[in-house]
Symmetry: C2
Subunit: 198 residues, 2 copies
DNA sequence: CGATCGGTTGATATGAATCAACGTGCGTGG
DNA sequence: CCACGCACGTTGATTCATATCAACCGATCG
């Protein structure tokens, strides 16, 4: 299944007998409020399940939208469950996926509840960098990075205008720069000092 | 296992072969930053597992503190897993617990990222009310409520001072009142209008 | 060539934090 | 039994971080 950038690929309350995985491109899982506000819950990269608990439930509690052009595959939920019983490795994979999702949610929750704008954005970038690096060859700290500032804003609970200002500050301090779909990090230690949540 | 109010009952990175459940009293799961800030992730009521994914992992990714006097029981993780294989009902219970935790995290995330102080507090109360009602007989919308304003502040990412101001507003508008360990709701529809996340 | 989108920047407004003072209830020790 | 200290909540004054409003710019695209 393919979708173009910006296209919605899953909707809250939608029922499906499949569990979906992103195969190519970027997407994001989000929760939409009736007045238009939305919270981006996770950016989905190739290999990511929309949400690990979809293995256990038939209806989505979230929506998913394509960020770039994406390709998505569905796996039959009943088959996954059958394989869980047969193969402990599948079981472990599902469990690990749950652990990661929970842990990521905990960290994002803490960032949103306790951190300043700079800290939240730094934290988001630090969270994404290794995930991007696991799927691309990174040279000289230059990461493929298709997010618009609006996406970052919706992920960390700020306005796009303020996201722009924070990036200006980071740029002026020679910490990082964003352009042409790439994120370039100049001062990783400083970024970690700001955004590492410890 | 018992603990007094304020006592820490689990610590991040602690390894345990048990999965813990609150049997009596209130506790809360939280994530602590080195500079003292903390994010309360969930309030734990009798019957709640500290965190559902502890069924899958041996070390905690969070801390837990007693809010009132509490009693806590541990269940052997390996035994739970064995029973999962044997009894589909146990499996379903674990799965449901994961679903609930994930869904709650999603909602809290959305509240923290997108909502105002009033909305966040209203949402927290609306989240807690049915959970309290499931464990107590509620008459005339009066709920046992042992939280201090500091706890509410740490859960929704505000200062205690501001929490106090929001409660003043709610009180002045005859929406609710808190006293002597009880929460009394006068205008539930209005509370839902403010905090329902739709 | 105009329209649209994404980003930047400045001016101003506003929600929440901070700082500080005060009150009240309660437990503890004299 | 009283006096004190302490935890908790309230309230006012002020500051600060972020939102809002608005203008503008460059790139892209029909």
């Amino acid at each position: 299944m393919a979708a173009r950038a910006g296209e919605q690929v899953a909707t809250r309350n939608q029922v499906s007998s499949d569990v979906f995985v992103v195969c190519r491109g970027w997407a994001f899982r989000y929760f939409q409020l009736s007045d238009g506000r939305r919270q981006i819950l996770k950016f989905l990269l190739p290999g990511d399940v929309f949400s690990s608990v979809t293995v256990f439930e038939t209806a989505f509690h979230f929506s998913v939208k394509a960020l770039t052009e994406v390709q998505v595959s569905g796996f039959s939920r009943s088959e996954i469950r059958a394989r869980c019983v047969a193969d402990p490795n599948v079981q472990i994979a599902v469990a690990n996926s749950c652990i990661t999702d929970t842990h990521d949610a905990t960290e994002l929750l803490t960032a949103l509840g306790q951190c300043s704008a700079e800290e939240r954005i730094a934290h988001l970038l630090l969270h994404l960098m290794p995930r991007i690096a696991a799927r691309n060859v990174i040279r000289e700290q230059r990461y493929p990075f298709p997010l618009r500032q609006q996406h970052i804003a919706d992920a960390v609970g700020l306005t796009p205008v303020h996201v722009s200002r924070v990036f200006s500050v980071f740029r002026d301090r020679y910490i990082l720069a964003m352009s042409e779909g790439y994120l370039k990090v100049f001062d990783l230690p400083e970024l970690e000092r700001i955004g590492s949540l410890r």
